[in-house]
């Protein structure tokens, strides 16, 4: 149905422009062209042949390189808009974006936020553009690769002279060629790694045909990559959690359903020291001030052996120990744990001494753990301190005189103590903060004097599982193979034909015509084959 039969006898698919076998022009337009259009070898592309149904129209739209370029250009312009101001995920997390953009960048910032550019890369329209690119990649590739494959597979050695005459590189002369000349050019071509075929007084030399598949291979790679990116939304493929963990703490690793626990054995922040580190760094350290050298969490990973037993308390078995540093995540199973952030010197415990105000005599020291307080601290000898109230983030007193705390985080801890001594068996009340004591219920003999503070660091670890990575890696690898395959070689062909007392020579390459010309010059040396000339010169 709809096949085109060429004079040479070949039956071509509907829509073929140049006969797959001999190269004769099959359409009126191609017959009239001065130079033949060699893109895709004049093969029958679906998009150039059918345009009736809706499917045809969609297919034709997306198979167009022009449309593809438009999608690429729209994507790159759109992507650039997202870099004018920082994206939502890079602004400080403690301020709402509605106000941040206007506060910092004025009216322009407000507009930027209102248009939705603050979260451009997650917007529906940006995703739609990426999807359009994916569709274009698939359709445009399929539309070309199949007919191109057919055309290159079926090409004949003895191309029709009209085909040769319409090549960009072409020459002819009257006369014939001697057997020795054929032999000579064949050998010269083979020396240059051309595959040479000779039939019926014609020669076809061809080299690096595989490079023609490069673009399609790299498109396959890109499609796999895009599919890999899509895979992230499949449940279970991707986990991204942040865990703030204090020194000494053991916490469940989020995202592992209670199977794993991690302990922070200590966080280290090191800076470069002028003098200690290699001398060459001194100048830079002195100019900049502090340069960080290392952020490290010494972690212990545990597995909860009782995780499968409902209701059982965790039974932790050590799995591994690792120093987690930037660039050196700890890995276990499908997870990786990264050093992401830290907070230094969070308050852990406070030391107070029960002190006689007048004499300054101390009757023992108590340590109040800010995360685990006792109801009372016995100092022996009749001395005892009761904890009446704990205000981790002290914020002042209410009108009734009640102390208040604005959060459960120990940012500004304050305590209400009842001090019991042999002199004051009823107890005296002292309100104690860092470097400050008050007597809210009248003057006292004793006070809780602040002595010292224990601090510790908090480390932020990112817990990541990403099962899409192998797919993305495969896509990237295939893309690279394809792009190298298509870029670093050229598909070169040389045709020589003797027919009815004429000698024809023509050459074609998909790119790098200078290279082909140099090849031709070298292989025709010492023969009477006419030197093909470039007819597309300036």
């Amino acid at each position: 149905m709809g096949k085109v039969k060429c004079e040479c006898g070949r039956v071509n698919p509907n829509g073929t422009i140049l006969c797959e076998s001999c190269g004769r022009a099959l359409t009126e337009k191609a017959k009239q062209d001065k130079l033949v259009d060699m893109r895709y070898e004049g093969s029958a592309r679906r998009s150039q042949t059918y345009n009736k149904t809706l499917i045809d129209k969609v297919w034709n739209f997306f198979s167009s390189v022009k449309v593809g370029i438009w999608i690429i250009v729209l994507l790159l312009v759109a992507a650039s808009f997202g870099t004018i101001l920082p994206q939502e995920f890079y602004i400080p997390s403690n301020v709402p974006p509605e106000t941040y953009y206007e506060d910092v960048y004025g009216t322009f910032g407000k507009l930027y936020y209102l248009i939705g550019f603050h979260d451009l890369y997650n917007s529906l329209w940006f995703s739609a553009l990426v999807a359009a690119l994916g569709v274009s990649l698939v359709i445009a590739s399929l539309d070309r690769v199949v007919p191109l494959y057919r055309a290159l597979k079926n090409q004949r050695v003895d191309r029709h002279e009209t085909f040769m005459k319409k090549q960009r590189l072409f020459a002819e002369r009257e006369g014939t060629l001697q057997r020795a000349e054929w032999q000579r050019v064949k050998e010269a071509l083979e020396k240059k790694k051309y595959k040479v075929r000779m039939e019926n007084g014609a020669l076809l030399a061809e080299k690096n045909r595989f490079t023609r598949w490069g673009p399609y291979v790299n498109h396959v790679g890109l499609i796999i990559f895009l599919l890999g990116a899509l895979l992230r939304s499949v449940p279970g493929m991707y986990i991204d959690e942040l865990l703030w963990i204090r020194e000494g703490e053991t916490l469940q690793v989020p995202g592992t359903n209670g199977e794993y626990y991690v302990k922070n054995n200590g966080f280290t922040l090191e800076n470069y020291q002028a003098g200690e580190d290699p001398e060459v760094f001194n100048e830079a350290i002195n100019r900049v001030g502090t340069v960080a050298k290392n952020y490290q969490t010494d972690a212990v990973l545990y597995k909860n052996e009782n995780n499968e037993l409902p209701g059982a308390s965790p039974k932790l078995e050590e799995v591994q120990r690792d120093a987690i540093q930037v660039n050196q995540p700890m890995k276990f199973g499908q997870f990786a744990v990264y050093q992401t952030s830290f907070r230094q010197d969070e308050m852990k415990a406070m030391h107070f001494a029960l002190t006689n105000k007048e004499t300054g005599e101390e009757f023992g020291e108590i340590v109040v753990d800010l995360f685990d307080q006792q109801a009372s601290y016995d100092l022996g000898g009749g001395y005892k301190v009761e904890l009446l109230g704990y205000y981790p983030d002290f914020d002042g007193f209410t009108q009734e005189g009640e102390p208040t705390s604005k959060s459960p985080l120990p940012n500004n801890p304050a305590f209400l103590f009842n001090m019991i001594t042999p002199q004051t068996p009823e107890g005296e009340v002292s309100f104690a903060q860092i470097r400050n004591t008050m007597e809210p219920l009248g003057e006292t003999t004793f006070k809780m004097a602040f002595k010292s503070l224990d601090t510790r660091d908090v480390s932020a670890l990112t817990i990541r599982k990403d099962l899409t990575l192998p797919v993305l890696a495969a896509g990237g690898l295939i893309f690279m193979i394809g792009v190298i395959q298509g870029s670093y070689w050229n598909h070169r062909r040389l045709w020589v034909r003797e027919k009815n007392g004429q000698v024809y020579a023509a050459g074609h390459t998909n790119k790098n015509w200078h290279g082909l010309k140099r090849d031709i010059e070298a292989v025709l040396e010492g023969t009477t084959i006419p030197r093909p000339e470039d007819r597309q010169k300036e």
């Binding site: 370029i69 060459v280 100048e283 100019r287 200078h514």
Partner: protein, 395 residues
């Protein structure tokens, strides 16, 4: 070790002057003889490429001695990266020179590399230790590959510029001549920036300001150029220095804007001087130098360098970048401005390559595209590091 660092700087200076000498040698080579396709190189041209290669070897010497002195690949700040980028342009030129044997390419590629290396030396050049995020072998792998890709892509800009200088009709003023002059003006402004910064640094000019920053906190800034614009609520601390003419809002970095204004003003002055003295457009001045080169060959070189550079760039600036980002930043892609602009560069050259498939986009249009492409690369190098804040702002 300090001694090694000294050797390293000397080698970089040597490379700079060798490139300068090679530029003149290439200039001499095209004066002598036409360079139509197939004609061999003359003695000047051979000498030019020889000196270029010696210069390249000297710069490689700089690179590896500095590596030894620092203990890490010297591509960790703007000075080091930009210098390396200049070296990659020279390397890419040498590569394409041996494919096409065109001396005129050197006459334009080497000055561009020279300007870039001089621009690099405007940044602090001492050897600095690596912050934790950079302590990885991927620093050397990712950055050098990306810079190599950009260097090769830059050759398409050089070829495109030569193509435009040669083919745009300079007998009358058109949109094309104006755009080409805009590119020339930009290059002149960079030269003005280098001259001004060097001048004021040598004279020891410094003025310090105290101001209120974006986060509403007190901060200080030191200006190396007289402050035409000053920081938000700034007060000049250094006595006897120029008071700013205008004050900037907090979200604008006044120091950087001041530098840009100075460069533009300097560029205008320098450019007008050239125009007034010679009474010709800058491109018209260059035109006689390129008369003999084949446009077809230039188009081919431009296309070829994109073909060679594109895969290298994709590998270095996207694939290696993603691998390292996964290790250091926990995710392979995070829409950081530098990442986005690497993607934009990639997409732009992808569009370039697809446009080559249609007939109309060879020759002049393709040359303009190569110029735009290089503009994007330079934007990513300069503006994204200095203007747009992001994870890559190491300077």
């Amino acid at each position: 070790m300090a001694n090694l660092a000294g050797v390293s700087s000397t080698l970089l200076e040597a490379a700079f002057f060798l490139y300068l000498a090679a530029t003149f040698l290439f200039g001499g080579s095209i004066r002598q003889k036409g360079l139509r396709d197939g004609e061999g190189l003359n003695r000047w041209g051979r000498l030019g490429i020889l000196v270029t290669i010696i210069g390249f070897a000297a710069q490689l010497g700089y690179f590896f001695t500095r590596w030894a002195a620092a203990g890490h690949a010297p591509v960790s700040n703007l000075f080091e990266f930009t210098t390396f980028f200049g070296m990659m342009i020279v390397g890419a030129f040498i590569l394409l020179f041996f494919i096409y044997k065109t001396a005129v390419l050197g006459l334009f590629a080497l000055p561009v590399a020279l300007i870039i290396i001089a621009y690099a030396s405007m940044f602090p050049s001492e050897i600095s230790p690596l912050i934790p995020a950079l302590q990885s072998h991927w620093l050397a792998i990712h950055v050098t590959t990306a810079a190599a890709g950009q260097g090769i892509l830059a050759i398409s800009f050089i070829a495109g510029m030569i193509y435009l200088v040669k083919n745009i009709d300079q007998t009358k003023s058109t949109k094309k001549t104006r755009w080409l002059e805009a590119v020339m003006f930009f290059i002149v402004s960079v030269v003005a920036f280098i001259l001004l910064t060097t001048g004021f640094t040598l004279s020891g000019y410094k003025s310090e300001f105290e101001y209120v920053n974006k986060e509403d906190q007190a901060a200080s800034q030191e200006f190396g150029l007289p402050a035409l614009v000053g920081p938000n609520e700034g007060t000049l601390l250094t006595e006897g220095k120029m008071e700013p003419l205008a004050e900037m809002p907090a979200f604008i970095n006044a120091k950087k804007l001041n530098t840009v204004i100075w460069s533009l003003v300097g560029g205008i002055v320098l450019y007008m001087l050239i125009r007034l003295i010679t009474r010709r457009r800058v491109a018209a001045l260059l035109q006689p130098l390129v008369r003999n080169v084949s446009s077809d060959l230039l188009d081919e070189i431009g296309y070829r360098s994109v073909l060679i550079g594109f895969p290298v760039f994709a590998l270095g600036a996207l694939i290696f970048a993603m691998i390292w980002a996964q290790i250091a930043w926990t995710r392979f892609w995070g829409w950081d401005p530098k990442e986005v602009w690497a993607l934009i560069t990639f997409l732009f050259y992808a569009a370039f390559l697809h446009l080559r498939l249609s007939k109309g986009w060879h020759g002049e249009k393709s040359a303009w595209l190569a110029v735009v492409g290089f503009g994007i690369i330079m934007f990513n190098l300069v503006a994204v590091n200095l203007v747009i804040a992001g994870l890559h702002s190491y300077a």
